[in-house]
Symmetry: C2
Subunit: 303 residues, 2 copies
């Protein structure tokens, strides 16, 4: 039975899984290394996790190996150009080094793209070939699946939707822009708005959510504001792509009931394409497994 191996280099640790052609996870293993131990330890751990899966299910049925990593990836070189979370991996030929140690080729992909591919394969997007996904976390990640494949652009940098301007003079962003959607509609933005409204200095997004569902009007305003910001960027994306499905992912979608009404109202106001067509804006379904499934799907995705 054909299977593939996916590896997801997540925010705090890595996981590898063996998945069959129908999307059934056969087995999963977690890395043990702290990222702070540096590049060699991380790469050793990645190779190790993949080997464990391959030894268990055999080389003869292995369709391929896909790896999802954070940051901007140069697909031509198989290099992570910029990775804020794990800077030790930057500008190193990680794809070829892992391939050398495993004595095979591996496919490298941005983690947001891998997650969208996972949702397209067996998650909320399994009935469509075209979707856009926004992942709300510390920042806002984006990914575009067009014709069943990741839209990468010429440098593999397509889908940087978190840095789309939604307010020309909005909050400043480390990318050099002002008013990026990720500065107005991420977990970080929720916390910053809570501080601006005097709700507290070190709140979590979850704590702001709890205030809101318990009726705190300032906390509710924050989710309304976040929803409006998302609506602006969703309307843009719908006008540009006219795809059937737009997914919102990330831990913050736990607050869906609080921000979705404002989001959909704003989307409707700002996009006649949304009003005229059967466009769906929905929650992603695979949670933090999406990237793992998507990485495993990589060997099959470009067929």
């Amino acid at each position: 039975m054909e299977y593939s191996i996916g590896l997801d280099l997540g925010g705090t640790n890595l996981r590898a899984a063996a998945v069959d052609r129908n999307g059934k996870m056969l087995d999963k293993v977690q890395g043990r290394t702290q990222y702070s131990e540096g590049r060699e330890a991380i790469i050793h751990d990645m190779v190790d996790a993949i080997r464990v899966m391959r030894d268990r299910f055999g080389k003869e049925n292995l369709a391929g190996i896909g790896i999802g990593v954070p940051g901007f990836i140069s697909l031509q070189d198989g290099v992570i150009k910029n990775c804020n979370n794990i800077s030790s991996l930057e500008n190193f030929p990680i794809r070829d080094e892992i391939g050398r140690r495993l004595e095979t080729t591996v496919i490298l992909e941005n983690d947001a793209n891998a997650a969208a591919l996972g949702e397209k394969w067996i998650g909320a997007g399994r009935d469509v070939n075209d979707l856009v996904m926004l992942t709300l976390g510390t920042g806002v990640g984006g990914a575009i699946i067009s014709g069943g494949k990741v839209l990468r652009g010429v440098n593999g940098m397509a889908g940087e939707l978190g840095h789309i301007t939604i307010v020309p003079n909005g909050n400043p962003c480390g990318c050099g822009n002002r008013g990026c959607v990720e500065k107005h509609a991420s977990a970080t933005a929720i916390i910053a708005m809570a501080k601006l409204l005097g709700l507290g200095d070190n709140m979590t997004a979850k704590a702001v959510y709890d205030l809101a569902i318990n009726g705190n009007p300032k906390a509710q305003m924050i989710f309304t504001s976040m929803g409006e910001s998302l609506g602006i960027v969703l309307a843009m994306l719908i006008n540009a792509f006219n795809f059937p499905l737009y997914l919102v992912a990330g831990g913050v979608i736990g607050g869906w009931d609080l921000f979705a009404p404002a989001m959909l109202e704003e989307t409707s106001r700002r996009s006649f394409t949304y009003r005229l067509t059967q466009t769906r804006v929905e929650r992603a379904q695979l949670g933090n497994e999406a990237g793992l499934y998507g990485a495993a799907y990589l060997p099959w995705s470009e067929i």
Copy 2:
């Protein structure tokens, strides 16, 4: 020698051309009908213009017939759903009716998409497979070419870039939104800004341009403002697509020297992808022939 026939239903009249596989125009003919004469007259004229070309170059070498029309097109039905300029053509099976009279199939396409396809074929985009085009006229039209083909979306409504929000509380638009780029960076927007600045009530965009090149600071501000607005939307598009080329088209590009510096500065500030990559923002090259060439290219474009 293989050739194809393209027909462009333009703002004031229609043109048909026979074009060979290399993009050489073999001949061209112009329709005679006023659009105000109604649907039957227009369709008769379209069929007539195509027949003239086909009679001249023969059926045996004809690769196909492409037709570019303004408005939103339902590709499945071959129907123009919404066409402000020629409302008599709305919700009529125009593709099938023309095909019936010509006893062959014809390909219908939105005129902005056809123009982008023309630029991709033999114009400013002939060395790339992926580009985005913004056409600045009365409104702002948009088109996306991805992998050498028009990105249509699920309803054929992709590329409605003129209605992307660039200022959340900007000028109101007939589409129901506020702050659409076409209300801040079109010929109409130039005229409206001139009125707001007290330059005159019934100026043309060209007259505002003439004031600006003669040193009028208010007129210059208008082009700077327009450039900044275009920069916001270009930065978004570059972040989303990471394509190699973004074309600006339409009569207003005569003012390129006045608005391009602010446009490119704003694009650079708002898109790290632009700053990090070899992204080109350039003028289209084919003028109002782009749609005619693109229509002729339609029969070859989906191969």
